[in-house]
Symmetry: C2
Subunit: 214 residues, 2 copies
């Protein structure tokens, strides 16, 4: 029973921290607020994770590793490259939509210089592996004559950048789409399919060789 509760409480803190870090940023989220939002004494934070940075590290690590494996599974299957890209994009959009705060955190982690932490390196290395995976699929598609000879790095940036922009600037997106707020339901039921459709359409027209060019 104690074991169960301990895990639940740690897990709960991780969930709360993911949201608060995502909303306020690392420096903006104080340990007191984190503990308060989680409904526990702030000493528990250090008891569980050693430090504030350790908490962020735990928040980041528990998600990154699992996602990596899913990406690799798709990339190593035997199917047309277009199908691979399609599935990767689908998985990525799905992951981002269901854990928006997490993706805010990791994007901020690679765009802001925080001094004296190892979290950034971990994030950077993992993102790099993910990006290179897409990179290789694109290169393979071009080599096989399935894709046009596009700028691979820019195409990758186009995919990740578009998704990232929509998720990380929800307030701007809400304004544009004339919604007073964008809750999780709208994100899942409206934004996600539209984003997916756009990416597929955009990539299809950009990557695939048109009839006129044949």
């Amino acid at each position: 029973m104690a074991e169960k509760e301990k895990i639940d409480k740690k897990e709960h803190l991780l969930n709360v921290a993911e949201r608060v870090f995502g909303e306020m940023g690392y420096d903006g989220a104080s340990t007191r607020l984190l503990a308060q939002e989680a409904g526990m004494n702030m000493a528990m934070l250090n008891y569980y994770f050693g430090s504030k940075d350790g908490l962020l590290k735990a928040v980041v690590e528990r998600r990154m590793s699992s996602t990596r494996k899913e990406f690799e599974e798709i990339a190593h299957q035997d199917m047309p490259c277009w199908e691979k890209i399609n599935q990767i994009v689908q998985l990525y959009v799905s992951r981002v939509a269901t854990s928006k705060y997490f993706h805010k955190i990791i994007f901020r982690e690679i765009s802001v210089i925080r001094s004296g932490t190892e979290v950034t390196d971990f994030v950077l290395e993992n993102l790099y592996q993910n990006v290179m995976l897409v990179h290789r699929v694109l290169a393979e598609g071009i080599r096989k004559g399935e894709f046009r000879e596009v700028d691979i790095e820019m195409t990758v940036a186009g995919i990740f950048g578009t998704v990232n922009y929509l998720i990380n600037s929800r307030r701007l997106a809400s304004k544009i789409l004339k919604m007073d707020l964008m809750d999780d339901h709208v994100l899942q039921e409206e934004m996600k399919p539209r984003l997916l459709a756009y990416l597929q359409d955009s990539l299809k027209t950009h990557l695939l060789i048109h009839e006129t060019e044949k």
Copy 2:
């Protein structure tokens, strides 16, 4: 003479603050560090701008207004929509490449919740106007039959998101492009033309109606 020196010093602090805010984030940049980097007493910060938030506000405002006008000039000219989009993208990439820190700041401002400031609203309103400008050009192009019937909002997100991603995650980009560092020279001479070429190619294939569809 005194007037000249005063302006230069304020301007100098604005420049330094833009870099430091961009590198470390608002909460990550302390007033002491800001003053130290600018080589002046930290009381000067409050003397000039009232508060730390006032400094950020000044940093943001001096750039946003001017860019807005340039965007509008292009949009209101009499030319094909494709040419408008082309010029807007060109201007935007150029602006971002020459003031990378500033764009880090405003993107963070709309993605992080900072309590009790008015800077966010200012940024949000200005970005909204810029986005709607592109929005209207795209809508016009579709109405005139110049463009395919794409998802306008997503297309806009694709443009701004791609540029934003490349600039705000330079460390990841460096890793992908196998550069140990990405200095301003590389950014200007390599990244910028590649990004521009990609966006034009991507938008062309996505927006313009292909021969096969006619």
